[in-house]
Symmetry: D2
Subunit: 363 residues, 4 copies
């Protein structure tokens, strides 16, 4: 290109920019990539770090109408510098954090059009209340808070209580459609008897007749002891080649993801079990509920132990191995339901079943 042509082009680009216009021909490569190139990166957080900062938050802040919740959230390095999701996105669509509620504390009632799920990590004695139902929480329990329902948290016990929250905040932020509303009082009233869900949904395939036409998710909690029993039963059958012995948490009234726009799964890997590698369009957040092992993501080996959290971005090859001597339990949550509703899901098996490890993740 001649100097004058080159200079005219530079001027042209600058004029475009001033008119809030842009040239597709030199940006299409970054706008439309051959394969997914999500900002979210594979990453792993050590429980020892997360736990230290969450407990310190216990000293620094108290949940109330201003602070709402005492949560330390995960911030994917790939979003660094991008506000506000630079702070709050763990994958391109999902937010997750660890919440601490101390004996005697309460977190105020609100509702929002984001969907939320919770996975209980430590402690007992606290409950979440969702639209009038008190849901007592124990380690390993999975809870849902469907979009639009009032909810708050109350601690009536004596142990610090920690759980993992996951919401579709980054997606709704990016879609530009967030609604959030405080309840007029601090807590909203409990209107259902204790144990409402567990009494109504205690076996597979049996739905209380009153829920025949129910539209939102009727099962508020999925108890750990049930999940563990199911996984023990599954262990006597063939595992899934990619996910091991694994169950999805679903709405028993519809078969859709319990979390509506947020999928969730619990996987059990027995000692030595090594799954085959695959990749899928959706992204996932993993939390090691129990065990020791490693996950190889796009050729990088992420060693994990109980309490660690790690990310599998969209379309990343991944396989898991339990290197410990006990069963490992991996909880994970994902945006698969969004991909399915928008016709974007796809899945691919690794041609060689297992990846070559190129390096170890070292933080």
């Amino acid at each position: 290109m001649s100097d004058s042509a080159s200079s005219r082009l530079a001027a042209y680009y600058e004029e475009l920019r001033q008119h809030h216009l842009g040239p597709l021909w030199n940006s299409i490569g970054s706008m439309m990539t051959p394969e997914p190139s999500p900002r979210a990166q594979p990453h792993l957080w050590r429980w020892v770090d997360v736990y230290r900062y969450v407990m310190e938050a216990g000293e620094l802040v108290t949940p109330d109408r201003g602070a709402e919740r005492r949560v330390v959230f995960f911030s994917n390095p790939g979003f660094a510098g991008l506000e506000p999701w630079g702070w709050g996105a763990l994958t391109n669509t999902l937010y997750a954090g660890v919440q601490l509620l101390r004996p005697g504390e309460k977190a105020p009632a609100h509702r929002h059009n984001q969907s939320a799920i919770r996975f209980i990590l430590q402690g007992t004695g606290a409950y979440t209340a969702v639209e009038g139902e008190r849901i007592d929480m124990e380690p390993g329990d999975f809870l849902i808070t469907p979009a639009g329902l009032w909810h708050d948290h109350v601690h009536v016990g004596s142990e610090d209580m920690l759980w993992l929250d996951c919401l579709d905040i980054p997606m709704l932020y990016q879609l530009g459609v967030m609604f959030f509303e405080n309840y007029p009082e601090y807590n909203h009233p409990i209107t259902h008897p204790n144990g409402y869900t567990t009494r109504r949904y205690s076996a597979s395939g049996l739905r209380p007749i009153q829920d025949h036409d129910r539209t939102y998710a009727p099962q508020a909690v999925f108890k750990w002891h049930k999940t563990q029993e199911v996984l023990d039963q599954l262990t006597q059958l063939d595992p899934d080649p990619y996910d091991g012995f694994a169950v999805e948490y679903i709405n028993p009234a519809t078969g859709q993801a319990a979390g509506i726009t947020i999928g969730a799964m619990m996987q059990k890997l027995v000692s030595g079990q090594h799954t085959k590698a695959h990749r899928h369009a959706h992204s996932a957040i993993y939390h090691v509920f129990r065990g020791d092992g490693a996950t190889i993501i796009n050729g990088v080996r992420f060693v994990w132990h109980t309490g660690d959290t790690f990310v599998i971005p969209n379309w990343a090859w991944h396989e898991h191995v339990n290197t410990g001597s006990n069963d490992a339990y991996l909880f994970s949550t994902n945006d698969g339901p969004v991909m399915e509703r928008l016709g974007l899901e796809r899945c691919e098996a690794h041609p060689e079943n297992t990846q070559r490890v190129e390096r170890e993740f070292d933080g």
Copy 2:
């Protein structure tokens, strides 16, 4: 009308008939009734009678490729004289009968586009095999045989075994679309490990990851001890005003009726419990699994005891009462899913909540 006009009209009607034509104006009243007027009538069969004839069939016939199944079926008096459904329809759409399999017997493998459900009445030691899954049967268990799947029965135990079969034979007969096919051998092979379903679907809301895209009903059996536990749990909450403490059997992957076109429900009524009256477009077949009581259907009181079978036709008012001193368990099956799929379901509460009893049913 003059004699000649009247005579011309008679001749006209006869000519129409000969040309396979008909006059709407004098038949519309019977063709389009203001409210449902099903051929099926309310009726009740005593277990003592049914049992006697089923056991006598045990002497008279053996299931094999010609007889297929040893079943005594219920024949609604409203269809008397109509072949073949005069024999085989219990409601306008549903067939039901009691099947006997004796120790050492087998019933051959076939498949059909009718959907089937089974409810186990007595005995142990036999199993149904559906598409390679062996399903051991115990009293109170509910099993499904989805349309199009190979299935047969085998008795490896030592007690006579009886169960209730229900299929949508009359509906498919009337729709004109029945397909039925014998398996090339007597039995089809078992390909799943024992206890496949119970290991895979042992808790509500947890779906094995391999079933994420499953299209047909993945839960083959709903065990009685689970059902009873769920009903005991529900008994601690408010009952449904019309159905008492009740659960539907559903496909846990979709929330639709487990029997696809055939709905099913188990109701528990505690001693003295008397439900409110209502009516719905769909029809239902009831089998008294345990207990003593009565159901008032369109003003007629049907007293029932363990083992009795009775019919609630479409749009019939009905209410139930447990007159015994123990819990009563009513199993029922219905064509609600068909009504819903065709946009025909409707439901109405009785304006006075309870009916005036005009007479007792006496057989």
Copy 3:
């Protein structure tokens, strides 16, 4: 079998019958046939006959609150002797008849849970009113009357007007769920401006913004001149091998059958065109709008001319040929939507593409 055994068996069967019970083992063959064996038979009615009797009805009866409608309906010989559908069923699920409205006449307003479609045969000057919309009728027009909507007919012109009605009466009769209600006055009021549908739905793929959330079929009429234009356009492309140049009438808001539970199609066959044979689970009623030709149904050749009506029962092989020198137009209506909603549809191509003609239909 010994005499005493045989005699005991006869007594047993008689006892069963008296107890409203039946033996499956000797009726399963008629209850569950290997392939569909619908009562409806292939049959053809000559227009000359139908027209004569419809016009004679014009002398014998007048539509009013008692007679409701002046319709001569088709009565499939396969249902002879069965009341009331022995008179009123053309296929296992569908009723059809020819209605006559004379200048100055009106037919009263009613509504019902049956779905209705109409196809206009002769005359002008009358309209059907559906839920407040006046729909002027011309030969070749296709109209729908969705279940639950008030409708009546009014003739403000000067020519006898004839049309074909088709309803799912036999199906609803058999399902046992008919509702029918008279409007409190003779006619119901017109609330929409003239030409409402044709102004709102005049091109494919363009939906008035007010219908974004509309639930029932918004297009009340499909005009013949539009249908003919579309078929002329299609004639420049490849025909469907089994149906020729053919369009379905659909609800433009959902893509489902315009008649909800009743499918409908218009086929054009050019001179000499002979389609391949196939069969499908659903049944169909054909009316020859224009032309001369023949349809071979299960090896029997049915020759047809303008105005004739014929039946293709479920799972019957069929192929069409235009033996005239002009284009032939075949209107047909079917229960395909029911089969699809209940998961019962299937379709098969004839292995030799064309059937061997075994005989001619001769009435």
Copy 4:
């Protein structure tokens, strides 16, 4: 707070940041806003500017395998500084630009999982080919390119041709799931006859029988002369209070948005017509096909003339007025289908029907 507490807190926040963690309690206000607060701002681009730069691009760049397309795209000022969607997002989810194809030029074939729609602005003689169908383009035509289909552009005429492209690039970028693939040759082959769509979909409610089970959008083009006729017909009926005389472009086989994840609408406003104000969760891009008027967005008046483009972000109040003496035609495209599929759509009427204008937009 004491100095030491404050200093500890600052250190704590910095440690969190280094560990890729964040404190929810001081970011929840920006992450979960009471109402939508999209980055996209209301903005308007003058046609005189856009046209000048597009035509200059005609000198500077030629579509080929490297440049792919000669498009000047709109870049919402709200995304300034954010790469890459700082350049390419017009609303939070949608990209749009003006493409120029000159006589004799071709743009190469590719496919991607983004959905695309096109609205033709000027010229004749070029066609888009989609999965083997040649679609000739004229001003006012609306075209779709469903995700996953091969497509390219070819100019065989003699006039410069300009059209508006809209894709869901920003949404897929943010979701992290983009796939893009080049066809192995420059163009992909035409396999359908000319005028394929227009011959197959020329009237509302009539679907070629071959498309009974078609899964993707079968109508490739919606011709302007048809759209104008429909709007002229609608003008004889009552307008929609918020959108005037308006139609959505839909998939005639399903009633869903023609563009799958991208909705589109054409509105006609007669001289002097002023709509009521409302707001909805979804965002929209407007292009003034013809006319002069103004749109008030969140109290700011945007005056528009033929060819101008403007943005209505999520949940922004808006109302339109035609201030010219001729009919105005507003084309618009939106992310409503995404909001509906994810359960996020909501709509609200302005309590006073019209907004108070606070200022004029001046670029």
